[in-house]
Amino acid sequence: MNAPALREIDVKDDLDSRVPDGPIQTKWERHRFDMKLVNPANKRKYTIIVVGTGLAGGSAAASLGELGYNVLNFCTHDSPRRAHSVAAQGGINAAKNYTNDGDSIWRLFYDTIKGGDFRAREANVHRLAEMSVSIIDQCVAQGVPFAREYGGLLANRSFGGAQVSRTFYARGQTGQQLLLGAYGSLMRQVNAGRVKLFPRREMLDLVVVDGHARGIICRNLVDGKIERYAADAVVVATGGYSTAYFLSTNAVNSNATAIWRCHKRGAYFANPCFMQIHPTCIPQLGEGQSKLTLMSESLRNDGRIWVPTVPDDARIPRDIPEAERDYFLERIYPAFGNLVPRDVASRAAKRICDEGQGVGLTKRAVYLDFSDAIGRLGEATVRERYGNLFDMYHEITAENPYRTPMQIYPAPHYTMGGLWVDYNLMSTIPGLHVIGEANFSDHGANRLGASALMQGLCDGYFVLPYTIGNYLAGVAPGKIGTDHPAFAGAEGDVNRQVAKLLSMKGKRTARELHWQLGRVLWDQCGMERSGAGLLATIEKIRELRAEFWTNVRVEGSAEDLNQSLEYAGRVADYFELGELIALDALSRDESCGCHLRVEHQSPEGEPIRDDEDFAYVAAWEWKGEGARPGLHREKLVFDNVHLAVRNYK
């Protein structure tokens, strides 16, 4: 910690992950016995707020309703079925070993720890692998139309470079079908009166009473009214924060506001700089672009990635002879070629474009060429394998990938970081539980393909319903109402911010400033980071934030449906979060997972991890506006998986 920005940081090793004792295989079983239970007759006396209706929030709200709790479930969408889990294409992993190819709970556990580059908590990951099999049972019972074999049993495929076929899928719409399963269960509980649904509500603050989470403040997005809701516990399941980077594969309304406001009320934010960049996205086509579209990385199974050896080669791709093409992944990584992991492929593509060899309108793209595959397999086979992806590409770009190479570029996709939680998925604020992508979770410094859906549903169906009971059993129900002064205080804070945003009438739009922030984060805090670059980034973000708070323009009224006001509030939080992302990246003076520090790489450009100094979770404490955040480290211990170095050469 030599950089001046880091010297004043107060560092403590004081986090208790509450991981139970005993062998890893029996920790969860023992813990379920050791946890306190809420008497079935008393459950209806407890009220639980669940914010978010994606795979984590929807499954949690439904399951808590089934158990008999009173559940208040909130989402910004007009319907719970629209949460961004809906967009996941590929599939969901489970250690069913239906394909008889050697999979097991232990192997899924091992792969997830190793894939996360040894920056995840062993006990949580093992529980995730154990629960994976129950998730598939649950989803099939709900009627999720997974792909099946001719014998009527479930089909599996290998995904994201896994050595076993453990991925279940529903065409290219796995996320949608799993979400509709959870949504069905949720609507059943709404019909039964156990879950009350609050759509088009945005959580703008957490209410903390005597150190415990006891409610939320929301803005009703239709009429602008600020509303108070009280409960005995709060669950936040509002997803990740890739949208801080402006262009990402996330939905345009995905945002960090709920978790960021929790952070400012005392929930520590863990590993904010761990964010995953997906290599195969359709590149930016112009400056007006609002998001990037991901295409399944299965494309890399048959496509070859290349750029012209000469920069600004104006010829059409098929006129460029073989000798003047650089198949850079095959050149640098002869063993794995185009199938190197996501982060390695993404980094190589960005580097080659930074060196001026990129193609396309913005020069920020590389070719993904199927002409060899079409020659080898025939167009019909390629169409059978990738037809829907080729159609999607054609729809967006108006180019035919059967005739001319696709152009691809990496894009921010998933955030492994999030609010810190213990083994019970409870944050550092007692009563505040965080599930799904919103927590820092089980993926360490890099997430395996088809594991996000698994984690969201695991948290919501099978972990939180047990662990929240352990918390509630120690709480007398219904003691705090919305007339408590803490609600008035939080509501006052929200109203002041809304009034400030509307009053400035400046010259810049929130979108312009968000776009600038995104560019800074992408360039300096994306796949490759350097100490000097990060220090400059922190300064730049502060400047942008100062400009936002003096010169932003928001129109319309607070008492109305006002999308420009909603958006400006989210962007305001991205500036604070963006600074923390950069600070976390600066303090993590090693390369690991998706996070490459240029100071820590081998002569061949391979990341060098530093287990001696950095095998910990970095959990940041908000210490007020302008103050340096505090750093709380949770040491990671690997008793079951030996620390090893990844090597794809």
Binding site: H84, D137, V140, A141, G184, L294, P465
Partner: protein
């Protein structure tokens, strides 16, 4: 990724309505500098940025995933839900489909059961209430049998998936002269009726969902077929025929 850099201009006619209770009107806007690769919603982003800079209230328009799967977006473009191309959502529509200088008329999805909230945003919560009345299989977390215990024939699973692909956008209602929700409800009825897991609640499901559809003020289906033509996910009107048979069967059983 065309190399043509030429941008385009359009005359927009857009429905403006301050809130549900107020009356609305068509407003005219000129948009310029539109890249033909822009999506229809990005063209609106650009219009709204311009309005903001001029100190005017931007046009309220819903969208989220912007890749055609969440079902949030949806407006009528020149009278057609999701615009001129078949089987795509509004967010997937690109400006290259609209000739330079053309006039584009943009209105919300219109139906009594979809009241306007503001400008181009409507309230589609009626769909949720239809699902609430039985559009699911009743199973509590933890009580599921082993996933492969009950095989489902592949053709049944594939047919179920065809119906389950509905994204609940409401284009079918907007396209229907009767503003019927039959395509939406029937897709879910058929999907669950094809699966062995869906059998125990088959009767109650179709009765509950059809009754709710009527209670919400949706019209009746009279086989125009406009819904199928407007559906971004190509949901077939065969689903409606299947729902009718399911309803008849359920009525006889309920006798």
């Amino acid at each position: 990724m065309s190399d043509q850099h030429g941008t385009r201009s359009y005359h927009l006619q857009v429905w403006r309505q301050a809130r549900g209770a107020s009356s609305g009107r068509m407003a005219s806007y000129e948009v310029t500098g539109i890249d033909q690769n822009m999506s229809f919603l990005e063209m609106f982003d650009q219009l709204n940025e311009t309005l903001l800079r001029k100190g005017e209230d931007p046009v309220a328009i819903d969208s989220d995933c912007r890749e055609g799967i969440c079902g949030t977006c949806g407006v009528c473009i020149d009278g057609r839900p999701h615009g001129p191309l078949p089987n795509i959502t509004t967010c997937s529509l690109r400006m290259r489909e609209f000739p330079d200088g053309s006039t584009i008329v943009v209105e919300p999805f219109r139906a009594d059961a979809f009241p306007v909230l503001k400008d181009l945003i409507v309230d589609r919560s009626a769909f949720d209430r239809i699902v609430m009345k039985g559009g699911y299989i009743s199973i509590n977390a933890g009580s599921a049998p082993e996933a492969n215990a009950a095989p489902v024939p592949k053709d049944a699973a594939d047919a179920a998936m065809d119906s389950a692909a509905c994204i609940g956008c409401g284009a079918c209602v907007a396209a229907c002269p009767n503003a019927a929700a039959a395509l939406f409800a029937s897709a879910r009825v058929r999907y669950l009726s094809l699966l062995p897991q869906g059998q125990p609640e088959r009767t109650a499901r179709v009765m509950g969902m059809v009754e709710q559809m009527d209670a919400e003020g949706f019209g009746h289906c009279s086989n125009h077929g406009e819904c199928e033509a407007a559906c971004p996910k190509s949901i077939s009107i065969e689903n409606i025929a299947k729902m009718r048979r399911e309803y008849l069967r359920a009525s006889l059983r309920a006798g």
